[in-house]
Symmetry: C2
Subunit: 240 residues, 2 copies
Amino acid sequence: MGKMICNCDSCHNKLCARQISIFSSLDDQQLMRIADLIIHKGYKKGELLIFEGESVNSLFIINKGQTKAFRNTQDGREQILYLFSEGDFFGERSLLRDEVSNYSVEALEETHICLIHKHDFQVLLKEHPDIALKIMEELCRRLDRLENTVETMGTRTVEARVSSVLLEFADKYGKPHPRGIMIELPLSREGIANYIGLTRETVSRKMSLLQDEGVIEMNGNKKVLLLDRSALERAADRAS
Amino acid sequence: MGKMICNCDSCHNKLCARQISIFSSLDDQQLMRIADLIIHKGYKKGELLIFEGESVNSLFIINKGQTKAFRNTQDGREQILYLFSEGDFFGERSLLRDEVSNYSVEALEETHICLIHKHDFQVLLKEHPDIALKIMEELCRRLDRLENTVETMGTRTVEARVSSVLLEFADKYGKPHPRGIMIELPLSREGIANYIGLTRETVSRKMSLLQDEGVIEMNGNKKVLLLDRSALERAADRAS
DNA sequence: CCAAAATCATGCTCAACGTCACATTTTTTT
DNA sequence: AAAAAAATGTGACGTTGAGCATGATTTTGG
C-alpha cells in the first residue's frame, strides 16, 4: 500500500502520540517532536505488516484498525498469539534485541499505522527512560495474558477455553446492550480456534452449546450477545 | 527457613551480584553497594518462596538451587509456568506494578536466594536505567518461551510436546556424555506433565515410546540420556 | 440487490488421551 | 540395611475432540 492517505487531523493536530500509553509521561512539546518522527502507513484487510522470520526496523503503533500476530506450523495450521487494536504497539522486540520476528502480523481490517524507525526509537528510549518503564509494563501485561493462556490450554476443558475467549472479547470489545453485552468478534470461528488451539468445528459446536444453554445468542457470524456473564465465568473456570 | 547461613565468600567477596545479568552493566563499586542491600535467605526443598495471590515485596534472585513457578486450579491440578535456576530472578512483576503475584514459587531443591527490597530496587532502577533495559531483555526472553509454549500446546502432537520439553531440558541441563547428552531432569514425570498440560501417565507412555525407538534411554527416574538429538528434533516438530 | 464465495453448523466415525486400577521400581527415612 | 513412602509403568476402557462430508447460512463484491 505505502501511499495511504491518513486524514491526519487526528495526528499532528491532536497529537496522536498522546493516545499511546508508552508516551504518556511526555509533555506536549516532547510529543510534537515525536510526531515529527512518525511515518504513517495504511494496510488493507489481509495484508501482512510483519513477516515471521524477517527483521523489523520500526516500531508499529496502531492508530486505527486491528491486527493479529500469529505463527504458521508446517502443516499449514496457525497459532494466533496476540490481537492488537488501537493504541497497541508491536515490533518492539526486534528493536530491543537484534532478532528477527517470531511471528507474522496481519491486518484484520483496514488498519492505519504509525511507524517509528528503529534508530529514532532507540534515541527516544535513551532520552526518556520513562518510556522503557511503560514498555516494561506492557510486556508484563502480555506475560500475564500468555500465562493465563498457557494455564487455560493446559488445565481447562475445551468448553472452558471457549468461554474464556468469549469473556476476553467481552471485556475488550463488548458494548452494553439492553439484554446483556454485545460482542463484535474480531475473529472468525476458525480464527478463534487458532487462538485457543482447537478446530473450527469444535468451536462451532461449543458455541452452539452455550447458545442452547441460554448463555449467549449468536447474531450472524460476527456478533455474539452475552446474556449471562456469570454463567460464562463459571464455565470458564471448569478444569478438565 | 529464615536463618539459613550462606557461606558467603561467594557473595560479598566475589560479588555475587556480578553473576546476575541484570547488573552486568555496573562496575565493581556499584556492585559493592548493591551487595550491601542484599539479604540472603535459604529455602528447603518443597518450601514456598512466593504465594499466588499474595503481594511480594522483594526481588528474588537465585544464588544456588532451582524453583518452579506454578498456578493451582480448583481441582488440585497445577500448571507450571517457569523453571528458574541459578542467576534467574523473579518477583519483579509485583515490584514494577503494584499487584499480587500471579503464581506460587516453590523450591525444587535446597535453594539460596538473594533478596532486594522493593524500595531499594526501585531506587536502583532510577539510578541505573540500564537495569531496566536488562530486565526488559529478560522479559522478552520469557515472552519468547511462552509464545513457543502456546504454539506447542496449541498445534503439536502430544509426542511432539514431550520431545520439545526434553530438548529444552537438554539445552538447559544437559551435559556431554560418551553416548550423547545426559539430562538431569528438574521435574518428576508428574512435574513434566504439569509443565506441558498432560497427565503423568501420558508422559510416561510417550517417554517409554521414545526409549523403544532408541531416541533416549532412561536411567532411574531423574536421568535421561539423549542418544539421538536430531530424531528428537524431528519428533518435536510434528504437528497434530 | 443479486450472485458468488466464504463461512458456519452439524452428523458420523475413529484415534487418542484421560481415568482408574494395580504392580513395580525408585527414593527416602529410620 | 530394612522398611516405608513416593514415584513410575502399564493395561483396560470410556470420553471427547479431530477429521471428513454436506447442507445451510452469511458475507462480499459487483
